[in-house]
């Protein structure tokens, strides 16, 4: 397990929003699994980070939740994206792309130094 990285707080929120956009209403376990799978099991999401992050997003109004029943008839809380959440997702995704692009330029194998 040591080889799998924990997710940073900031990016986790973005991943949650993206997941909910892609898959629609989903429970916490589903979100965690999806993030882990999408990362090719490079990331580990435990509930100590996931649930506080979900709570924060809900408090900020980006997602909402309601109780539902899972595939195997278990009571579970389903989260779904709100309109504010969709906007926030667009915004954060854009910012993130910008950030990675900038960083990529810095880290690209030394064009200037060459």
């Amino acid at each position: 397990m040591g080889e799998r990285a924990d997710v940073w707080q900031g990016t986790l929120a973005l991943m949650v929003l993206k997941t909910l956009q892609a898959l629609g209403p989903l429970h916490g376990y589903g979100i965690a699994r999806r993030i882990e799978q999408t990362s090719g099991d490079l990331l580990a999401v435990n509930y100590g980070t996931l649930y506080p992050a979900l709570l924060k997003l809900e408090q900020e109004g980006y997602i909402s939740s309601e109780w539902g029943t899972s595939d195997n008839n278990r009571k579970a809380k389903y989260y779904k994206l709100t309109r504010a959440g969709r906007k926030q997702l667009d915004k954060e995704a854009r910012e993130w792309e910008q950030t990675t692009e900038i960083l990529a330029r810095f880290l690209a194998p030394g064009k200037e130094s060459a």
């Binding site: 100590g48 709570l55 900020e60």
Partner: protein
């Protein structure tokens, strides 16, 4: 925006906690189950699936804790937790809590009550618009034989100030008078003011109904108009708006009512019910020689008091040059109206405020001491909590929350006490306290009380809290650790005892000084005998009494009627009875002496009286004779002078038969022959020394200024028993003249020392409070200290010490601390009592007798507070065996 929403929701997260907890548990459980399910599907055994899931997901409880922190606001949650815990602790020891809360409530209550008075009297703006620009203008007279910083201005000076100043928007003049109001129910005497038309515009107050005076109203030829108070309108005229088209009868003349003032308006006196134009003639307004007005003015915007004073100084100099006869030595003096009203109360209130401040400090010391005692009882609890990982700051916070809760509870009950205090004060209604109707518990008082409570809570909470968390955990967890821990707290508590004893000494000495001066005041010889004397007022005004003969007839008839009542020895009338009124004085000349320079003319106060006045009041006749009804206008004009006058102007001579004249020798006034000399009396109040006084026989005093208002009736027993028969007797003489101010001269005498009695009572109350608190403090610490030393005492007794020795040992220590406190307190009092010098009479602020008595008193109280626990409670009864097993 989003963030704010987040915070609000988190705030909401503080509530409905159970439901949220359950939701969280369900959510996590279902997460776990889904995880296990997946593992099962992957072919693991049930046990292994669960194990793996738990490993991966981490501790459930930790997750919940992180979640909770995100859900609510940890700071607030801790506070609530602390408050709940504090509440439980306080409920667990209801006795302790009650004592502490009561102590704080007494301290806060006393402070809140005094502050509400201070606030209303000294701090609040006056109830007139832009009242900070209102001032009083006085004459400041400095002549060789007469000095007065607040002399009543003459109409001439008022008129010249008004027309020639450059600093006031307007000036208004007024003087007090009273009217007999007839034709509206029973005849009644009402207090009134004669005012110049400008007065209401100076105050910027308008009538609630109708109007105030115009310049035309304020003309000598103007018709009679009157403005009345809301109170009179309600009580006598049923709040009828038609009052404006009506006339009312004042002293038998009809007046048109032009306005009714707003309900809360009063000026200058609370009792004023009517205002009439003063209507001074142009002759009056040129008179610089008689001084009887009061003058209020409104400063122009942005003009300071100093600028106004400067302008008036310039003006006064100019007037002195114009009118050297009357205005030599006459300056003007400007005082802020609020200061004028509050002035005399300031030193009293400052002293009282200081005293309650000290009481509050004693309260803090006492409560701190109690909390320290309890902290050592809770020592083990705190030790365990520290051992279990509670941080020192966390425990400090917990303990401070407890003291804050105590302080707030104390504040609530304190405000109740303050409310009772203020209600009592209003019931007593001491006449010398201005602005009584403005005294109540308002937001400022609430804030003040809350602030001092919080501050007090911090003061008395921080020391025990620090003490409780300072000790080593290991010590506190060990059995038998009480000794060392208790020792540290005992030292602190001893310091507190010293402190509160010292504070108590200062307050008690303050009260002692006031008591001493009050006792001296009570023994001041008045020069007359108030016992068994009834007084009342009836003023013969109206058509019937415009001439001297009519008035004299009235006095004679009234006198006969009263003296015919059973139980009456004698009756007489006078312009003003002693102890109520500062008489005006007049300049006079003595026949055959060189006329004095301007401004050095001899001055004497004057009173008109009926025959028998001196006998009725038992004022001693030193030489000559009393007046008789035979002193008619046709007979020789005679006067009686007082001893001070005889001594001042005829030292070494016999004044009998000498002649005097009011005014200068050239004035066209009659000469009066001195027919008698009587003893001095205290005319204005008990404190003011007698001054030269001339008494005139009313039967010869033809100027209507010499109206007799007050009657003195000497009776055989309790004067109040005949009080009820006076109005009926007077109705037989004239049914239209109301009788007022029926009271005994003793009552009047008490009223005249009411201000001193008031400060003494309050100061005494606070001193008693301080004393009791200090005694309780000493007692508590001694009890505790004896309990702490049980073992030591046991050993001593086992070793053969006699019980007396043990008592001495315990007592000695307590008394040492008390003595140190007394010494510190004496030093403090020595430094502080001079601040109350203005409240003292006949006693120096460092009066050795007071200091000695208070020292003895405090020593006695301390001895008692030490002796009781030392003897009764433990020390004497300690069985050595039990004591040694004590650990």
């Amino acid at each position: 925006m989003r963030r704010v929403r987040g915070w609000l929701l988190r705030l909401g997260g503080l509530f409905r906690r159970e439901r949220r907890e359950k939701d969280l548990a369900t959510e996590i459980e279902s997460h776990l189950q889904m995880h296990i399910q997946d593992h099962l599907r992957a072919g693991m055994s049930a046990e292994e699936a669960r194990r793996q899931a738990l490993i991966k997901l981490g501790g459930i409880e930790q997750t919940k804790e992180i979640y909770r922190q995100r859900r609510g606001l940890p700071v607030l949650e801790t506070l609530f937790q602390d408050l709940r815990f504090a509440g439980r602790m306080l409920l667990k020891n209801p006795g302790f809590t009650a004592v502490v809360v009561l102590t704080i409530a007494l301290g806060v209550g006393a402070n809140a009550a005094i502050f509400s008075v201070v606030h209303a009297v000294l701090l609040k703006p006056l109830p007139y618009p832009e009242s900070d620009r209102l001032v009083m203008v006085w004459e400041k007279v400095s002549l060789p034989n007469y000095q007065n910083d607040q002399n009543e201005p003459s109409p001439g000076n008022f008129a010249d100030w008004r027309s020639q100043n450059s600093v006031f928007e307007n000036l208004g003049a007024y003087r007090n008078r009273s009217f007999n109001l007839t034709g509206a129910g029973e005849p009644v005497r009402v207090e009134a003011e004669q005012v110049s038309a400008g007065l209401f515009s100076v105050l910027k107050v308008n009538a609630a109904l109708g109007r105030v005076f115009t310049a035309e109203d304020d003309q000598p030829a103007g018709r009679h108009v009157v403005v009345m108070s809301d109170g009179l309108w309600k009580s006598r005229f049923g709040s009828n708006a038609k009052i404006l088209s009506k006339t009312i009868l004042l002293d038998g003349e009809s007046y048109n009512v032009v306005g009714v003032m707003p309900p809360d308006f009063h000026f200058p006196d609370r009792n004023d019910q009517l205002w009439v134009p003063i209507a001074m003639t142009s002759q009056d307004l040129a008179n610089h020689g008689s001084h009887f007005l009061l003058v209020t003015a409104r400063l122009k915007r942005n003009v300071t008091l100093a600028q106004a004073q400067g302008d008036l100084n310039r003006l006064a100099q100019h007037l002195t040059e114009l009118y050297p006869d009357t205005n030599t030595g006459v300056q003007a003096k400007v005082i802020a109206l609020r200061e004028e009203i509050a002035g005399p109360m300031r030193p009293v209130l400052v002293a009282l405020f200081g005293a309650v401040g000290f009481v509050l400090l004693i309260v803090c010391a006492n409560v701190a001491s109690l909390l320290l005692g309890r902290a050592s009882a809770r020592h083990r609890e705190i030790g365990i909590r520290i051992a279990l990982g509670a941080g020192r700051i966390r425990i400090l916070r917990q303990l401070l929350t407890e003291s804050a809760l105590l302080a707030l509870l104390g504040c609530v009950f304190g405000l109740l006490f303050a409310r009772w205090g203020i209600l009592t004060l209003k019931l007593l209604n001491p006449p010398h306290i201005p602005r009584m109707d403005e005294i109540h518990i308002d937001t400022s008082v609430l804030f003040f009380s809350l602030a001092i409570s919080v501050l007090a809570g911090f003061i008395f909470g921080v020391l025990p809290a620090l003490q409780a968390t300072r000790d080593n955990i290991n010590d506190s967890l060990k059995e038998g650790a009480r000794e060392s821990a208790g020792g540290a707290s005992l030292r602190t508590r001893n310091l507190l005892v010293i402190l509160e004893t010292a504070l108590g000494v200062v307050v008690v000495i303050g009260a002692g000084l006031l008591l001493r001066s009050f006792l001296i005041l009570e023994r001041v010889p008045l020069g007359f005998q108030p016992r068994s004397v009834l007084t009342f007022r009836i003023i013969p005004r109206g058509e019937r009494y415009s001439q001297l003969a009519g008035r004299t007839a009235f006095y004679q008839q009234a006198m006969e009627r009263i003296e015919a009542l059973p139980g009456v020895k004698s009756a007489a009338a006078v312009s003003f009875i002693p102890l109520t009124f500062a008489r005006s004085s007049k300049g006079f000349s003595i026949e055959g002496r060189v006329a004095p320079a301007a401004g050095e003319i001899p001055m004497a106060a004057y009173d008109a009286v009926t025959p028998g006045y001196f006998g009725s009041l038992q004022i001693s006749l030193q030489s000559g004779r009393d007046f008789s009804w035979g002193d008619t206008p046709q007979a020789q004009r005679v006067v009686i002078i007082n001893k001070t006058m005889a001594r001042t102007y005829w030292s070494g001579e016999d004044p009998l038969g000498k002649r005097i004249k009011f005014g200068t020798p050239d004035d066209p006034f009659p000469w009066w022959t001195i027919a008698g000399v009587v003893g001095d009396i205290r005319e204005y109040d008990v404190l003011t020394a007698p001054r030269p006084t001339v008494y005139l026989p009313v039967s010869q005093a033809d100027d209507s200024n010499y109206l007799l208002r007050d009657w003195v009736v000497r009776t055989n027993g309790d004067p109040l028993t005949i009080a009820s028969s006076i109005p009926a007797a007077m109705r037989q003489v004239d049914p239209d003249l109301p009788v007022s101010r029926l009271r005994s001269l003793e009552q009047l005498r008490n009223i005249s020392v009411a201000p001193q009695r008031f400060s003494l009572s309050l100061f005494g109350l606070f001193a008693a409070l301080a004393l009791v608190l200090a005694a309780v403090g000493i007692y508590g610490v001694m009890t505790y200290s004896v309990a702490q030393q049980t073992r030591e005492i046991g050993i001593r007794i086992a070793m053969g010490a006699r019980r007396g020795d043990v008592v001495k040992l315990v007592l000695g220590e307590g008394l040492r601390h008390a003595a140190l406190g007394v010494i510190l307190g004496l030093a403090g009092a020595f430094a502080l009592t001079r601040l109350m010098e203005r409240l003292l009479y006949g006693v120096r602020p460092t009066d050795p007798i007071t200091f000695a008595c208070v020292t003895l008193l405090l020593a006695g109280v301390a001895l008692l507070a030490c002796y009781l626990p030392a003897r009764r409670r433990r020390a004497m009864r300690v069985d050595p065996i039990i004591a040694l097993r004590h650990e």
